[in-house]
Structure formats: C-alpha cells, structure tokens
Symmetry: D2
C-alpha cells in the first residue's frame, strides 16, 4: 500500500489555481506523484486531482536530500489547516484523503451474482481498496458467496407492502456500519428518492445497456428487438431519475444476427462486471468528480 | 474479379432446405465457394447465402477432373429456371446475381464530405464493386471532388418551397440512370415517404450516433450533454420513420470528459466513414438480408 | 439444455460435400439448427459444423407435421453408421456428439487464481457445459476455492528433481478421471512433449501477451519495456513448442505511458479471463477445428 | 484557430517542479487552458505539457477583470527569457510554441495511397494544423492526388544503384523547404542511418502490424500464416533500427479464419490510416515526448 494522499478539488475557474495549489503543497514538502487538471470552459469550472507522498523518502522520487525542503513525513493536518484558508478564498469544494484509509462499502444484489462475485474476487485480489462490512440482498442466493468471503449477509426481502420498512432497515444498516459507498451489483429494486438523497454521488449502479439507449427493464430484450449490432453496459451514480445519473463508464461488445436474447445476456455479463468494477475502483481511488449530470474521471 | 455468383434466399423455415438447395446446386455442377445459413427460430424464418464459382475450373477447388460431374462453365440460366420451381414450392424470396454485375449506385451528400470522399476513394481502390453514375447534393462543396473522380455531379438545392420539385428531380435522375442503391453520405435532408417507398432496402444512411440513442438532429451535442463515455455511429436502411430503419453496422469510440462537442464531431467522422463504407460494401457483396426491422449480415 | 447434436467434419475439399452431408441428415429427419462451412482454398480443405435437433418436435422449428419425413426422435446411432460409409468415401475426419454429453475437464493452475476463479464461476452460472472432476496445482492457494465449488483438489508440487514424477501423477489422474480437456489456467510449469502428445488439441493454455509478440516469461515486463500502447492475451492449444500452438482467441486493452508493469498485470487479468473462458466455451461447444497451426472457430 | 501556446518540458524529477513552472506562468499572467504531467518513477524523469492562452481575454476563462494580474496579451518573449533561467537551473529540455505556428511537413509514399489520401483529406478538413510544402514518392501514382490538393510533387525513383543520390536529393528538398516533420505514409524504402540521424523524433512511420510482432516485410502474410485472430498497425518514430523506434499509437481489428491475406490487407488499410493520422496530429499538437525508446502521449 502506497503511503500517499489524494487531494480532490473543484471550484470556479480562475487564473493561478494550479500555481497556488502546487506552491502550497511544495511549501509543505509534498512530493507530487501525479497531478491532473480539467477545466470546463463552458461552465467556468476547474477540477484538480493531486496525489502526493506522505513520506519524505517515498519510493520513486528523484530528489537528493539536499534539495528537499522537508525531509520529514508530510504533516497532513498542518497542510489541511492552511489549505482550508485557500479553499475558502477560492470557493473550493475539496477532499483530502490518505490512501491508506479504506472506504466502507455496502454491496447490494438480487438473484444475479456475476457482478457480486466479481467485486468480491477483485477485493480479495487487492484490486479494490475498501472494507466491505455488509452484503445486502432481497434474495438468499448470495448467502454462500458471502460466507466464503466471510462478509456478514443481510437478507431483506422487498415487496410492495414492505418496501418502506425494508428501506428503513437498509438505512439503519448503512448508518450503523458507517457506509460511505453503496454498490448496486445488479440489485433489481428501485431506491426511493429519500434513500438516494442520503448518498449523493455515493451510490453506484450498473445498467445493462448503453445508456441512454434502452433505459428501464429488460434492456437486452429491447436491444434484440431493435436489431442493434453492439450491446453495452453502463455504470453510473444513482440519482432520483431512473437510469439517468452521471455516467462513470461504458463499454460495448459486438453481436450479430445469430445472437438470441440469452446470448446477449451472457455476453452482457462480462460487460457489466467490467464497467461496474472499474467504476468502483475509480471511486475508491478518488478519481471521480461529479458536476451537473456528468463525471470527470481522472486517469 | 472473381467469376462467381451469389444466391440469396429467405423463406419460411422447414426441414431439408439446405439439402434441397445444395443438391440442386450440386446437380448443376456448382462449386460452392462459401455458404452460410441462419434461422430465426422465433419467427420461423430461414436465410441462406451461397457463393459459387461460375467457371468449372475455379481457383482453389480440390476436385480432380474425374470426380467433377460438370466440367463445363456453370449454366446460370438453366439453374435459374429450375431453381424457380423450387422457390415457388418452398415460398422463397430469392435473388441470384453474378458477382461481375456491378450495381449502379447514387451518392448523396450535403456540406460534410468525409463520407463521400471515403466512399469515392474506396471505390477507386477496388473495395467497392459498383458503378457510380451520379453524385447529388444540395450544396456545391462536393463539385471539385466529383470532378476529380470524373463522376457527373447534380446540384439540386432544397428549400421548404422546392422540396417536392427537388425530389421529383431526384427520382427522375435515379430512374434515368438505373440506380439500384442510394447512399446518403451525410445528406442532411429528410426524404419523403414516397421516395423511401420506391427503394425498399435500397437506401443506406449513416446516422452519427449509436442508435437508438440520440435520434434526430445534433446527436453529438446530445451525447456531450448526457456525458456519455463512448460515442457511436450507425449505418442503416432508410424507412419511413426517421433513424429507425434496419441497422446494418455500428461502431463506437471512447471519449472522455476532456472532449468538447467539436472533438466528438472529429472523432465521429472516422466512425461514420467506417460504418457507412462497411454497409455499402456488404450491400454490394449481397451479404445483407432484411426482415422485420432487422438485418442478417452474412460474414 | 438443448437436446441436440453437433457434427464436426474436416476433409479434402470437393464439389457436393454440403449437398451430400445435408441430404443424408435430411433423409434421417434431422432438423438443422445451425450449419456453417469453411473452405481453405490454398490447402484444398473443407470444414463443416452442423448442429441439429435430436427431438422431432424441437423448439423453434417451423415444420408442419405433415411435411416432416420423420416425426420420431432422431436415431443417432443409425445415422452414425450410415455416415461412417460416407466419411470413408470422402476421407473425412469427423466427430458427432450429443450436446447433452458433457466433456470431462481438468483445470490446472499455480498461484494466480483469477482465471481459475472465473472458469469455476462460469461453470456454476451455466456458461460452460462440462464436468470438472479435478483441479490440479503445484501450489496450495487454490484449495479453498476448490472446496467452495466442491471439486477434488490435487496438490502436486513440481521441482526440477520431481518434474518427471509429478507429470506421471498428472497423467495417472487424467486417465483415471477420463479427462478429455486440460485447461491451463495460468499454470506456470512447462509440460513435457510426451504429455502434450497425449492430448492433441486437448490442452488449452492462456498466454499473457498478444502472440506472437512477447513469447516466454514475463511478457508484461517485456511489453512495458517496449513501450507498446496496447497489451494483449492469447488462448491457444498447447503444442511441443512453447507459446506456438494454434491460436483460439486474442484480445487487447489500451494502456498509456502512465501504466506501470503492475497496472499491465492488473489490466491483463481481465483479458486473460476473457480469452481463456471463450476458448474453453468454444471447445466445449465443438466450435473449433485445428488444422496446421491454425484454428477454424465457427461462430 | 486558438490563440494559445504549448510548453513542453522534460527534466530530472524533483519536488516543486509543478509549483515553479505554474507560478512563473501565473506571474506572467498566463491563463492555463490545459496542463498535464507525468513522472517516470523508475528513471526519475518528469514530463509536462501546458497549454495556455496568449490573449488576456481568452474564450472560456472565468476570471473577472479585477482578479486578473495581467489583462494585456501574454508576452511570450519575456516569458521565454525568464523561463530559460529556470530551465538551466532545473536541467530542463523544453520547447515553447505558439499554436498558430504551423509546422512544415513532407509526406513520402510509394504505390499505396490510402494513408496519403487520408492525410491530405484530413489537412483540408482542418484536422491537421500544418503546412505540406512537398510530397515525395519513388512512384508516379500519387501525382494526380498531389495536383488535386495543389501540393508540389517530387518524383524521385530509388534503385540500389541510385539510393545514395536519391537520399541526397531528399535531404536537399527537406532543407530547402524547411521541413520539420517527415511522414512516411507507406513509403516502402528504408532510410539510411544518416538520414534518420538528421531528424531525431522527426520522422513518423506506419508499420502494418502490431509491433513488435511481425517486423519487416509482408507482415499481413506473416499474420495470416501464424493464424492470429487480430491484426494491427503501429505508428512510430523512425530510428536506425528497422521497426524498432518509439511507438506512438497502435490499433487492432478482429479477423477470422475466413479472412485471406487480401482481406487482411483491406482491413489493415483502415487501421493504418487511423494510427498514422493520430500520430501526425498528436505530433503537430505537441502532445508527444520521446524518452528512451518510448513515448509520453499527453491526451
């Protein structure tokens, strides 16, 4: 695990933003590992992501000791205090997070387990830097898989009559476990606006089509009926409007007239796994900033 | 140029279709170069494409003379006559075409010339086996390009007031030149239902989005506004309903938050060229069968 | 599970092959679900795959009863007997297999488990129609995963000194369990020519490069050193020559100057999973024919 | 045309580089439009590209006048003088170029004209910001195309006996026309080491394979013989060693057992056009930095 921190900023664009942020980091002795910026010239917005080492002698730096203003470990709290003044002056929204801090993630699914199995495997393999305190489903199919990965499983069935009560249980669980990110890994229930409002840019969903084509239910059936030559999948943040939130990632696969709906479903599983796992990894690596109904994804 | 013929069939599915068609070809001494079939099990339809040599000693056959029932050139008219009986019995729609016969194609465009330039170059390079007796445009931009390729250019401006008259001139031209295929290479005028009805599965268009997403005008603007991560282009047969005809080919390219509308337009040009030129080539090679609102594209 | 059979043929090319095979099937009342052919004109070879229903009333046929020569179930043994005469006459190599017969597959791996986990998940999900009686590894890492899927695990460590003995144990196990296909899911030991000779076109490997680039060890390091802009993975049948057997499937992913070797390794895992699982599925579905050092993969 | 400038830097990595460069730009009143950095941690190298407006009131800035340190146009020469001191201190290699300055490019080709036609079309369409004073070929095929675009054509045949003399003429022409970039658009002659040495990172070639696979002549034949499932094309800077220079861009297309060598050649043409035109555009936009045998391509 790298001993580093990520600073994410968005604010109104103006001259000198890069200079002021990078100078402040330099004065505190930060060793920048990677920096990226983006301007939306239409809206006059500025976005920045900086990753820097927290340790004076971070791997891969070319500094000789004599040139280093600060050889000691980076004092993240001192920096945070000073940066806060800058942020107020420049109307910045910002977050500064140590890479070692692992966000707490809840995974939701229904009967289809391919995305769930994929995310759990990737976390075990070290691709996803997070804690997963709970798995939630309205079906029992995932239980054995949750056991295998030793993650507490919460079975919360949902019917029209119990929807409100189920969601109350969901929210209790999320709060109790300090969940910061909810991943809907083919969870087939629609969340209420109140639920969504509790986790702005904090719920990631995968939709099994190339949005905005084929919103709603049964997109593979719709794609087959329309006779498209490529199918797609989309990962996005959840907003109040179904299948309409900021898109994080999309991918497609070629199909032909030979492919029946069940072939599309099978091909689509691979797409869904890939676009969802990328979205989760980028979110955990603090690579994503939302604005309006779009995302900036720093690579 | 290969001395071969292509037989395209579609009919209600039933047992023995492959056997009966291939046996008839065999009795006439056809040397099959490539054959492909498709069944749509839901609709109970059968589709077949067979390409066979017209010359008894076609390149690449493994036949020794003693085993060949017919060493003489294939008698296409005799076969046609006998096949017609079979077709009636089995309710087949069919076409049999010598590969050497080059369909007559009209190219339409407006101001954007990238697809037009690409199609003309590909024909010159031998990728498109067709005649192009006319180029039609409601703008003069294409004139020099038409001259370079020595193809007669017809400038037919279109306004709300002249639309009907312009279309009458179009249809006269198409009839006069014996046009079998109309290619809309970014032709930005909508054709009337009457025009479309004259060329069923005979008008190919390119739409600059991944249909069915972003139908209608300014799809790149719509894609940018939605924040998609891939843009697409679609070639399709034109039907009465705008951007709704049977899809022939689609392709996509990855974009990012950095790309502005003009970047999408530039990236999209490459997609449009590729999906349109593939559609035209496959049509000319008699690889496409339409049914319902879909296509079978034999590879 | 479809109640169907697949007939795979390769033989010297000659006129009338499609007619004779399809007529024989028709006389036996086969209802062809899908047929595909290929000719290699340079080598004068013919390849064919036919899938047909074994049940007279197979789903999706359009036959009316009165037109069906045989309403009874297809008599596969009677067909096999008659086809054998044709095969001898036409010098065919052929195999005819009921789709319900599930091949017996052994999975080998070393420490990296991503391909193994993927194959096991896909089989559970119904994507791979096979039995997996044994998992073999020279490491213990896979043991828990094997337990989860309730597949007997055989730990057979390999050193220079024990290589021959280990391979003898491998061969005993494969024979004892009637294994027809060996899948090397990132198994990092080289098999002896004697082992390979026992399973012609019966051992599938995944190599973590776009072959023929970067054969041998540490291909991601080599790709990084060369500065390529795409990385790849390749699944292929194993022959005596390392990384040289007939290629079944390849895929690539885009990388950039930002990607370090460990990023390539992580990106590559997804490629490896996909190309290996496709190869195994196509093999199990009898879609692959080898000839020379190439494959025909019927889609 | 944007009124902007691009600053490209590479130097040994050390702390504070971003801060020092961006602060200097800020003091001179630059309005940064886009900035990107890269560190190679293994080699201890730092790379940076900054694009900034030369006009105080550049489109899309969010600055209110009162906050702008310099409302006057950016004084590029004053900046250049001061930056030079910084560059010496920090051992930087750098170039600063106004976007309006259009590099002078020579295009070379042989008989195959698809890349040449594509580059000429793209420049006409505004995708390539350069002057093209000369087209050079050892064949006459390109002459009509050069005429169409009104670019002087130089026919310089090359034989074993005349190679040295031909190259002397090439170099004279390049010098006479002040050529900064030579594009080998399927030019099938090998350049001498002396020629290559005159244009370090100044000659772009397209090779019709996925390098490092299939170097040398007839790569499509080699790919067909090996039975690969994807073909590729590569654009790269030319170095003394054939097909070995720093790779700029690569792309691939899927093929199947049906594709013969001529199909690969046809499919490959599209790949070659795309990877070469991207390389040329990125070079012209000053997006590429070479180091060792690799490229950084800023997006």
């Amino acid at each position: 695990m790298k001993d580093s921190a990520v600073l994410l900023i968005d604010c109104p664009d103006r001259k000198g933003l890069v200079a002021r942020v990078s100078s402040l980091l330099y004065r505190h002795g930060a060793n920048i590992l990677h920096a990226d910026q983006h301007q939306d010239h239409e809206l006059g917005l500025f976005f920045m992501r900086v990753e820097f080492a927290l340790n004076g002698s971070a791997t891969g730096t070319a500094d000789s000791p004599s040139e280093t203003p600060h050889a000691a470990p980076f004092d993240i709290e001192a920096f945070r205090a000073e940066f806060d003044h800058l942020a107020v002056e420049l109307s910045m929204r910002w977050q500064l997070t140590a890479t070692t801090r692992r966000p707490r993630v809840a995974l939701f699914c229904s009967q289809y387990l391919h995305c769930m199995a994929d995310l759990l495997y990737r976390r075990r393999a070290g691709e996803l830097a997070c804690e997963i305190p709970i798995i939630v489903s309205n079906h029992r199919d995932v239980e054995r898989l949750a056991d295998f990965y030793a993650i507490p499983f919460h079975y919360i069935p949902v019917t029209a009559a119990t929807r409100a009560a189920a969601e109350a249980r969901h929210l209790d669980l999320l709060e109790h476990h300090g969940i910061e990110l909810v991943v809907l890994a083919r969870y087939m229930q629609i969340l209420s606006p109140a639920f969504v409002a509790r986790y702005p840019a904090g719920i990631v969903n995968v939709h099994h089509s190339f949005l905005p084509a084929f919103t709603g239910a049964r997109p593979y059936h719709a794609a087959h009926a329309r006779g498209v030559k490529l199918i797609g999948a989309t990962s996005h943040y959840v907003t109040e409007i179904l299948d309409d939130g900021p898109i994080i990632e999309q991918d497609v696969a070629r199909i032909s007239h030979r492919d029946q709906v069940e072939d599309l479903v099978a091909r689509g599983r691979d797409l869904e796994r890939i676009v969802l796992s990328r979205a989760v990894r980028w979110h955990l690596d603090r690579r994503i900033l939302c604005y309006g109904n779009k995302t900036v994804v720093f690579d």
